[in-house]
């Protein structure tokens, strides 16, 4: 373990890395402060120095503040939430020893030394007690509000209750110490500051005692509430079980309860309708109401649609019909293969059905317009009945 040479060295070391230490202290509960992250805040050499002097401890890829420094900062900033009664206990032991030495010591300056110790510790006891009491109350509230697991919640509250008893005992012991047990010491040590400190301590102890009574009430109250909740949950489970087994009505008094229960809630939503007063209807004020009611009625009528008649059976019968289409593509292909003249070709073409002369003319025109590029259209014309047509051959 690194031992610092002087206060000067400690203060300087901390001052060199104050940004980093502040950041690490803030994140002390997260437990994952990465080495690389520290390098962003401080240069490597300084970080190395801090590690050597054990202000910061490296744990794999993570860094953490050394326990001694952490305790020191928490103590000064009163940021520790732990309730520790051991330190008060130790202090009481220590103070009794110091008082004993004081009484046995003849040398005045040494006597004063012991007296100074006693004063310092009395002050300390007061502060620690108050902090413990505040932390206890905060822990109780937090546990009740935030702990989701019922069993842990009950165990935590019971532990906090035993802590409360410990603190109470220490308050009583301290009180006993300054009032009765060491009466001779306080009679002999007539120091103005000491009596002021004792007075202050008594006040602090009294306040703490009162606060503890409240904590005790809270704990009892919270434990009762939890117990009721647990019982309720249990009850719901049982009732639900019987409901699932269809046995609820025969094995419980639900029927009786519901027969007696007459709340309107059980009726569901009921709407009462009243007739309008005839006097009101005869007055002018009623006009708007009547118009409104009338428009509602009209809307209703509009919405009503006449019912459609029955569909006749014959419409539902399936019927087939065949239709023969003229396949122009096929005609074109046979024409190109034939080497004939188009007009004559179409006139003599064997269609799958009867095709009239006019239709054949239409087919001729369709062919020319569709496959113009594939035909050799000449500037010579033929004549058929009253029709003049261009002579067309395949290319």
């Amino acid at each position: 373990m690194y031992i610092f040479n002087s206060i000067h060295e400690i203060v300087n070391t901390i001052a060199l890395a104050k940004g980093l230490i502040e950041e690490m202290f803030e994140k002390r509960k997260l437990l994952s402060f990465r080495y690389e992250y520290a390098l962003d805040l401080i240069d490597g050499n300084r970080l190395q120095m801090l590690l050597e002097r054990e202000v910061i401890i490296q744990n794999g890829a993570y860094l953490e503040l050394d326990e001694r420094f952490m305790d020191f900062f928490e103590l000064l900033l009163e940021a520790n939430e732990e309730i520790s009664t051991a330190s008060i206990d130790e202090n009481i032991q220590f103070i009794r020893q110091q008082m004993d030495y004081y009484l046995k010591e003849d040398n005045l300056s040494r006597k004063n030394g012991y007296l100074r110790n006693v004063k310092a510790i009395l002050k300390k006891i007061g502060k620690i007690t108050i902090r413990n009491v505040i932390n206890l109350q905060r822990n109780i509230d937090n546990t009740f509000k935030n702990e989701p697991n019922y069993k842990i919640k009950i165990a935590k509250l019971e532990n906090l209750d035993s802590k409360r008893i410990d603190i109470k005992k220490l308050i009583d012991t301290t009180d006993e110490l300054i009032t009765n047990k060491e009466r001779i010491f306080f009679q002999q040590a007539t120091d103005e500051e000491l009596s002021y400190i004792v007075l202050e301590l008594r006040k602090e102890l009294l306040d703490s005692g009162h606060s503890l009574i409240r904590s005790q009430q809270d704990i009892i109250n919270y434990l009762n509430q939890i117990k009721n909740q647990v019982q309720l949950v249990e009850k719901i489970r049982k009732v639900k079980y019987l409901r699932n087994q269809f046995e609820l009505l025969s094995k419980s008094n639900l029927k009786d309860i519901l027969t007696k229960e007459q709340s309107v809630i059980l009726e569901g939503r009921t709407t009462a309708t009243f007739k309008l007063s005839l006097n009101f209807l005869a007055s002018d004020d009623a006009r708007t109401a009547i118009l409104k009611a009338n428009s509602n009625n009209r809307d209703l009528k509009k919405r009503k649609r006449p019912e459609a008649g029955v569909i006749k059976d014959e419409y539902l019968q399936e019927a087939f019909s065949d239709e023969v289409f003229i396949n122009l593509e096929e005609i074109k292909n046979s024409f190109l293969a034939s080497g004939n003249q188009l007009f004559n070709f179409i006139m003599s073409y064997q269609f799958q059905r009867e095709v009239s002369f006019e239709e054949r003319i239409t087919v001729f025109c369709q062919m020319v317009s569709l496959y113009e590029n594939e035909f050799d259209i000449r500037q010579e014309f033929g004549q058929y009945q009253q029709i003049e047509y261009a002579l067309i051959y395949s290319k």
């Binding site: 989701p148 709340s263 309107v264 939503r269």
Partner: protein, 189 residues
């Protein structure tokens, strides 16, 4: 003594079979609650004349009447629905009760991880008129609980709901059910 100004509002609200809860997010309802608290005797006396009894619960008020219109069967069906609901929400979180805040999204996430909750949510299908998807079932349950004034939508943006003190009525109803001793033993086994 004169009746408070919002007597008509109170009547209108309560006769629909709704609760007036002290922790409502609606200011009007809170105002009604405090009016009833202040003029309880007077209002109760007044409503008694028209056969309604103003009942006082733990932080909530509701109406009852001597000759209720519901049949025993209707009452039992309604009680069954409440038992299913209580069981479901207590499975979701044991501290679910008056003042509790929740979001349906969280319940759905939980139901994906917690088999028991999932089965219970599926079991509530019978109360949600043919809804199939879990989200739809949950939404329809929540809708119904809002209509029955047991919960309120506190924040429409994050879709969070607050449980009204009227929830105590349901818990009290369950607490008042006595199960025969032998059955108790049977269930615990």
């Amino acid at each position: 003594m004169e009746l408070p100004k919002n007597t008509a509002d109170i009547f209108e609200y309560l006769q629909k079979g709704l609760f007036i809860s002290s922790n409502s997010t609606n200011e009007e309802i809170r105002k009604m609650y405090y009016t009833i608290e202040e003029y309880y005797e007077l209002l109760n006396d007044y409503f008694t004349h028209i056969n309604f009894c103003l009942e006082q619960g733990n932080e909530y008020y509701y109406f009852s009447r001597k000759e209720p219109k519901a049949t025993l069967e209707q009452k039992i069906n309604r009680a069954y629905w409440w038992i299913d609901i209580l069981d479901f929400f207590k499975t979701y979180n044991e501290s679910f009760g008056a003042g509790y805040r929740f979001s349906p999204a969280d319940i759905l996430v939980q139901s994906n991880m917690n088999m028991e909750l999932q089965i219970k949510l599926d079991g509530l299908k019978k109360h949600s008129a043919g809804k199939e998807k879990r989200k739809e079932i949950l939404d329809s349950i929540i809708d119904r609980l809002i209509k029955e004034s047991f919960i309120e939508n506190e924040n429409e943006i994050n879709n969070t709901y607050k449980v009204m003190t009227a929830w105590n009525y349901l818990e009290q109803l369950i607490e008042s059910i006595n199960i025969t001793d032998e059955t108790e033993n049977e269930i615990s086994q």
